[in-house]
Symmetry: none
Subunit: 182 residues, 2 copies
Amino acid sequence: MSSVSVKEVTSSSGGGNSRWYPTPDQLMLLQRMYRGGLKTPSATQVQQITERLSSFGNIQGKNVFYWFQNRKARERQKLRKKFMNLFQQHPLYPAHHQPGLPLHHVSGLEDASSWKGDLPSAQTCNLMCDCGFVTMMMMDHGGTDPYCTRVPPKTLQLFPVTTTISADLKQDDQVQQSLAQF
Amino acid sequence: MSSVSVKEVTSSSGGGNSRWYPTPDQLMLLQRMYRGGLKTPSATQVQQITERLSSFGNIQGKNVFYWFQNRKARERQKLRKKFMNLFQQHPLYPAHHQPGLPLHHVSGLEDASSWKGDLPSAQTCNLMCDCGFVTMMMMDHGGTDPYCTRVPPKTLQLFPVTTTISADLKQDDQVQQSLAQF
DNA sequence: GCAAATTAATGATTTATTCAAG
DNA sequence: CTTGAATAAATCATTAATTTGC
């Protein structure tokens, strides 16, 4: 570990070359392009960029591709995290998840009488939920938000998402599973 | 800063006043259910969900109903937009033989030993465009990116790709500009 | 000062979604 | 219903920072 094996820039051949590290120049240019608005370069663009950057050191197309992918992903990640911290005080959510699940059918709810009558028309929903939805969308990209931390929950699979059941059953099942989460 | 004010979740039912804002927990669960496959909950399901979510804060059946309605509607909206963009942003991937840009996977890029599922095409912003994420981004770091801004058609042709103008060319342009800097 | 130990960054892979074409 | 195309999300893996005890 401590061996800071100097990686010659001669990437090819050698054999087990370790990963690519952008040279300062390469990095600068990549960042400049990103800030300039290029988030997802096309294949052609990757190719061009690679060619140009190769004059500063060894580089491959996949390095460029990965760089933009990671850059973009981590920007979003950072923003999500920040935004969530802004919003929900309470720490990362492992709080409520019950393996055992209390799945039960809250019986006696069939009629749904409490709100059935005031079921609003479809036209109004846009107005009503607009702002709230913005909030949601902001956090949406963390939809499953297992982000938060790497520490607490290792991997939490929530939905198997099997497509072998009828829609209704599947939905009911999903509801149950979802409800079972808390 | 506009959207951050959503903080007060006070939907106190006291005076039939302000509208509902989902709490983070409620939101998370709703999203989870939606992604789990529940797009249009039945009345019964709405009721169940409402009961469960009410343990996190004030909520009514119609809120849940509206939420799903809007979520679904906006997903469709988003897709429509995406579809439209697809007609303008060209797909530049599989096409035919490009001089140095053969089929799939930006080959011509060295070993490409693991260069597998890549080949990005330009259409990223779509997810973020819709509901205020852009706002957040701007708020966060100075409104840098034209994530989803409409693309002014530029007259710049670099590649003989079939038709297409606009977004992709814009990006190519950006690349050119960026590359031109060194 | 210095390394071992720990944490943060980030390059590289894998996995899950999603829509639409067949 | 299945599958292809294309990601974004999640994860793995390795390296650089840094902390810490001596």
